[in-house]
Amino acid sequence: MKKNIKVMTAILLSVGLLAGCGTNNNTSGGTDTGNGTSNEKVTLNVWGMGEEAKTLPKLADEFTKENPNITVKVQALPWNQGHEKMLTAVASKKGPDVIQMGTSWIPEFAEAGVLTDLTPYLEQYPELKPENFYPGAVESAKYGDKYVGSPWYVETRVLYYRTDLLKEAGFNAAPATWDELSDAAKKLAARGDGKYGISIDPKEQSLGFMFSRQNGAQWFTEDGKPNFSDPKFVEAVEYLNSFFQNGSAPKDLGLDIIPAFKEGILPMFISGPWMIKLIQDQAPEIDGKWAMAVLPKKENNISLLGGSNLSIFEYSKNKDAAAKFIAYMSKPETQIKWMEETSSLPAATAAWENDMLKNDPNYKVIGDQLNAAQPMPVITEWSPISENYLKHFEVIYRNNVDVKKEMESFNNDATKMMK
């Protein structure tokens, strides 16, 4: 009897404890059954990433106006916490219905099988069809034979430069080739102490790969093995390293790019379209003194194609409503509205017929660059490989070691990861 009471006490206490844990789950409301076509009330949980997601509720409200039976709850997560949140959602098999996926996340989560294949929804929601979007963006949303995300917005990297400072250095137009870029950076850095030519972000994974692709390097051999010690790849890394070694790019400046750009400390940098708005807002003083250009050319000037896709979480119970929401977000009209709010570029090609995109000189540059932009490979190992590249590149630019040897060691690491 005594024993029984002991056990009972323990059970009672644990039940109380678990009940305490459980209450939170019930209020999240994502577990309603039903789908968007019936008149049943449905609540969609949407996870958006980064600063722009804070504007998403505006569009979500308009979606609810058209579909009164679907309420949308948006949760805005910072990019650096999104990955961890997703891991928790995968582990508990409970989470959002719709997730904004950075293109670099697609392979790992698709491999884990937590992103729903959108192919069955294409008939019902023609807005989702791949032919509506930039081919590169579609490529980044395909994993194997599955179509696991619908392109939402795209971004590509272009060159930002200070027209006034380049003119002083004798350049009337943006550097169009690698040699010109290097030459301009050197001349700009020669303006004096504390002035540099260009910002080469050593934390940016894609930069080395982008430049090597411009140099004509093949990242993988024909039988799919890493090929990062290829002379063309090494040459591109040497080119990037030369900016650090001849002092035209700072190793540790400790300044944000916009103030440095404004002060002319860093008169050139390579970045994505989100910088347009930031420069306009934070540095109105240099209005008219800066411009954008497509990337300088070596064998080609192919830039990185990135962006975000919208995916349906495999464990969602409202997949149909989720597809409807994504279809709404993919309409050219919605995409233009979204661009006006956040300056993210539409992934739907039809939206680019819009006057604002056609006539604005900045957007025109990005439109041009999008024609020469390709995504990074859609393989699960890519994310660790590109992280590993950064470590090797850090050794190169800080210690100025032999690039060929370091890249061979990088290639060995990559080969191990591909196994």
């Binding site: 006490t9 323990a10 990955h83 989560f109 491999e111 099988g113 540790d252 300044l255």
Partner: protein, 296 residues
């Protein structure tokens, strides 16, 4: 009924703690132990069928991983320099504050304690500016007196020292409070007796205070040691382990492998290596303490 309550009461009182400890510490540790023998990654997390046991492979690999060895070296560097400094500084500040009789000393207690309760993210923002190579206050002050810039966070060894400085600043307060509490527990009569025997202030401190604080010092050194072996927040918010893995600690290595690269099995193996090290070091300390108390 009363007899029943009397007998059961202790179980009822410890039950919440025991249940919480089991649910949130012991069970997760056991799960991690199992995971450390598997090749669990993101697909394994979604679908348990794709996990397979791979024996000690994770352990042999992690112990041969140059990055992990570097992380161990860095962690030892933090512990060997940081822990004695924390104890020494917090003890001396506690003594000084305790000696003072003026009201201002009470205010200083708060001043020294404040960093311990400040959010690490806020601390990181402020200290990043202090250490900033272009805008930093520290380099500005150095330049004022004609000294060259110091690469606070951009040279591997100096970056480690900079993080130790930050962690010191943050952890002195809490330990100081523990020492002050212990100091106030020493009966006044001991000091009076010492004064009658003609002991000066220094002799009182070394012959009465320090021996009476033995247990407080022991407690602080064990908790500080364990805390510093798990050194994580400072490199996580300030440097992310860089430059050149110079500030990467074992705990940060585990975090990065687990949550950034999804190598859960590998990270679990790394965390068990750390776990065993902490247990071993704590046991050694306990043994040393036992020997010491046997002698007195």
């Amino acid at each position: 009924m009363r007899g029943f309550l009397n007998k059961q009461a202790p179980y009822i009182f410890i039950a919440p703690t025991l249940i919480l400890l089991t649910l949130f510490s012991i069970v997760p540790i056991l799960v991690a132990l199992v995971i450390s023998f598997t090749d669990m990654d993101l697909s394994g997390l979604a679908n348990f069928d794709s996990i397979s046991f791979i024996g000690f492979t994770n352990y042999t690999e992690v112990l041969a991983d140059p990055v992990f060895l570097k992380a161990i070296f860095n962690t030892l560097f933090y512990v060997i320099i940081g822990v004695p400094l924390v104890i020494l500084l917090s003890l001396s500040i506690a003594l000084l504050i305790n000696l003072g009789t003026s009201r201002i000393f009470k205010a200083f207690r708060v001043v020294y304690y404040l960093p311990s309760v400040t959010n690490i993210v806020a601390v990181a923002v402020v200290w990043s500016y202090l250490y900033n190579p272009s805008l930093g206050l520290f380099n500005y002050l150095l330049n004022l007196v004609g000294l060259p810039d110091v690469p606070w966070l951009t040279e591997p060894t100096i970056a480690k020292l900079s993080l130790i400085l930050l962690a010191l600043w943050k952890s002195i307060g809490l330990n100081m409070i523990i020492f002050i509490a212990a100091l106030q527990g020493i009966p006044k009569s001991y000091y009076e007796a010492a004064q009658l025997d003609g002991a000066n202030l220094w002799q009182q401190v070394t012959k009465v205070t320090i021996p009476m604080l033995r247990f407080a010092i022991f407690f602080v050194s064990i908790t500080t040691m364990i805390g510093w072996l798990q050194f994580f927040e400072e490199p996580f918010v300030m440097t992310e382990g860089g430059p050149l893995d110079g500030t990467l600690s074992v705990a940060l290595f585990i975090y990065q492998n687990g949550f950034k690269f999804n190598n859960f099995g590998y990270a679990a193996a790394g965390s068990f290596v750390l776990f065993v090290c902490i247990i071993a070091i704590t046991l050694v300390q306990l043994r040393m303490q036992k020997n010491e108390s046997d002698m007195t």
